[in-house]
């Protein structure tokens, strides 16, 4: 029976065929597939190994445990909250379990404009099929859609707009609604309860609380990675060294470029090309109790604006997250929060045109440089107007926009305010739960960080396998795409085994 031992008492010096750094959607799948293929695999995970027994559904305790910087990470000017996970399973442990296949048009763009081999939808189909099966991807049953989700669809339909119900990766969901604080019931099929245990089942070894720091190299080959093990009970720290034939950095699009840059690995494209799916939200206030905190938070979407790069998705937030993102304060905020149980909420998620960059600051931490460009600001206005109309059509007495001007929409005539509102840093709530692109695939080493299969340009055996690989913003929730890329990278390594092993 696989076990995970974090009671470290001494330094470790390990040898394996493959060392995977990070256990999120990309790294866990890569590790599992290679273990299944018979290779010895060591997984290093910076975060802790936390299971449902620890997931107590309290924001104040789970955010520091499961999110980078306790959920307080932002872009350098504070304009965008950047949410990503830091525990075994990575961001899949704390995501909303929404599943989209990658849009065929985006994959075609990657093939034609970026010269990436084997990336068209038909190429990726076997990987997508396997990932969907292991993650148990299925439609959310209509009866599991709570009123918060229904209000978005009802309003949209009254306006003649199209929408639908998401697919998700949950099994026998209890609809508790605490997905992003770690599923307390193991119903969300995150990497924590699927590909990571699958990797262990096929013989991989997992070291949580193990932060990779430096690489040993001989010419263009990495020979070992060294890091620090922390015993979570005692706080004692030890050295870990893993020698391997192949290495994958899979820490996500924020952490991966930091590790590479700290080690002088990769070309000038590492850290650049950051996309974030910038997201803002609107709250519909209704006369009746919506109780949107009950049930699955993310269930429905409106797709009419998708060709313009805008997705509208129902969502809700626990009290701390809601209160801190209303962009209201004082008595007005308190009076608004007093109506928490009559709120419905949805997001405007952008297929971003803009680009940013990740650098390393003096603390050795990521400095994220990104703000929403003019084209994407126009999408925010379009999306927020559509969302306000939808909620008014659904019967909301008013629609609150999370902006410091305190914008409230009560009728069609109020919508002009959205055109006029300043979209500047720290004037409105903008966040990102999807970070992509900072070690992008591509045929041209001048314009990309890795080759078509995620191997760092100029290196023989160092791969990237996570959201960093995406050369453009995806436009939909990316976990299935990233997981499929993990499967695809594994297939490439097995196919080219004589070259790598």
């Amino acid at each position: 029976m696989p076990t995970v031992d974090t009671a470290y008492t001494h330094d470790l010096d390990l040898q394996a065929d493959v060392c995977v750094i990070g256990t999120g959607a990309g790294g866990a799948v890569l590790a599992s597939e290679l273990a299944e293929a018979g290779y010895s695999v060591v997984m290093l995970e910076k975060g802790g190994y936390h299971t449902r027994k620890a997931f107590n559904q309290q924001e104040k305790e789970m955010m520091p445990l499961l999110f980078e910087e306790g959920g307080a990470r932002t872009t350098k000017d504070g304009g965008i909250s950047v949410l990503h996970g830091t525990s075994v399973g990575g961001s899949t442990t704390v995501n909303w379990a929404i599943c989209f296949d990658p849009p065929a048009s985006v994959l075609t763009e990657w093939a034609e404009d970026h010269g990436i081999e084997g990336i068209r939808l038909e190429d990726l189909a076997p990987s997508l099929a396997k990932v969907r099966r292991i993650l148990n991807v299925q439609p959310i049953p209509p009866e599991a859609v709570p009123e918060n989700g229904r209000l978005l669809l009802d309003g949209a339909r009254k306006l003649g707009m199209k929408g639908g119900i998401f697919e998700h990766n949950r099994t026998q969901c209890l609809s508790s609604g605490f997905c992003i604080l770690g599923c307390s019931y193991d119903r969300k099929q995150s990497m924590l309860v699927t590909y990571v245990p699958r990797a262990l089942h096929f013989g991989a070894r997992l070291l949580p609380n193990a932060e990779a720091k430096t690489f040993e190299r001989e010419g263009d080959r990495i020979t070992a990675v060294k890091g620090v093990l922390t015993n979570p009970e005692t706080g004692a720290q030890y050295q870990v060294r893993v020698r391997a034939k192949v290495f994958s950095v899979s820490g996500g699009a924020i952490s991966t470029p930091v590790l590479l840059m700290q080690n002088g690995l990769g070309n000038a494209q590492v850290g650049r090309n950051l996309t974030l799916h910038p997201t803002t939200a609107a709250v519909g206030l209704f006369d009746h109790q919506v109780k949107a905190f009950q049930g699955i938070h993310f269930t429905t979407y409106v797709s009419d604006l998708e060709p313009e790069g805008i997705l509208l998705e129902s969502i809700f937030a626990y009290p701390g997250l809601m209160g801190s993102n209303l962009f209201r304060w004082g008595a007005r905020a308190a009076e608004t929060m007093a109506q928490y149980d009559r709120m419905a909420a949805a997001i405007v998620l952008l297929h971003d045109d803009g680009r940013g960059e990740v650098r390393v600051d003096k603390w050795g931490l990521p400095e994220i440089d990104y703000w929403v460009n003019a084209k994407d600001q126009a999408k925010f206005r379009t999306g927020l107007k559509a969302l306000a109309r939808i909620y008014l059509a659904a019967g909301a007495k008013e629609v609150l926009l999370p902006h410091s001007d305190g914008l409230t929409i009560r009728q069609e005539g109020d919508l002009d305010a959205i055109e006029r509102m300043p979209i500047e840093t720290n004037r409105m709530a903008v966040f990102s739960a999807h970070q992509m692109g900072t070690a992008a695939m591509g045929a041209n080493p001048e314009a990309s960080a890795t080759d078509s299969w995620g191997r760092l340009h100029g290196m023989d055996n160092l791969f990237v396998c996570d959201g960093s690989l995406l050369p453009t913003s995806l436009g939909v929730n990316p976990q299935i795409t990233i997981a499929a890329l993990g499967d695809r990278t594994a297939r490439h390594l097995v196919r080219e085994a004589s070259r790598y092993f």
Binding site: R52, A72, S184, D186, P319, G323, S324, R427
Partner: protein
Amino acid sequence: MSVPLSRRRFLLQALGLGAGWLAGSVTLAGCAPTRYPERALSFLTPKEWAALDAASAHLIPRLPGKLGGPDLPVATAADELFALANPRLQADLKQLLNSLEDMTWVNLRFRPFTQLDATAQESYLRSWERSALGLQRQGFVALSKIAAMLFYSDPRAWEQIGYPGPWVGRFDFGQGLANQGDLAANPNPHVFERVPE
């Protein structure tokens, strides 16, 4: 909860460009009452604690019959939380609170934020919120998010917003579940199967 500030730039801009924000708009008569932490602090200094405590009274005010920011209190929760944060977050929070307390420019002189009356404190915070300077807005948003996150994630605040709280502790769904935190057991039977191509 976001607090990254460029420390030096914040100081310079707050000093050099922020002068006159409040000139003539506030008075110093009747300082807000000074409060003290109810227990030993882990991370914040008493001065920093007092600045955050005073700000929280405006960010989450006490409405009739309801709790407000100082009731929980938010500043003590921030002290606990940031004691465990990374050095960057810690440095940024200290920078922010010291800037708030030391550099409040009122009637052509600097006055401690905590020694202003309530009206002046609120006006000062509003000037940050509406500032043309991104760094001042950033400081305000950081304060506002810290206060709101820590206040509303506290169970004592839930009754007044109609939030029943987590299922854990209210409902027991533990019985009969396969996985008690053991990676080998999982309700999804496909996890350990080899998948035919």
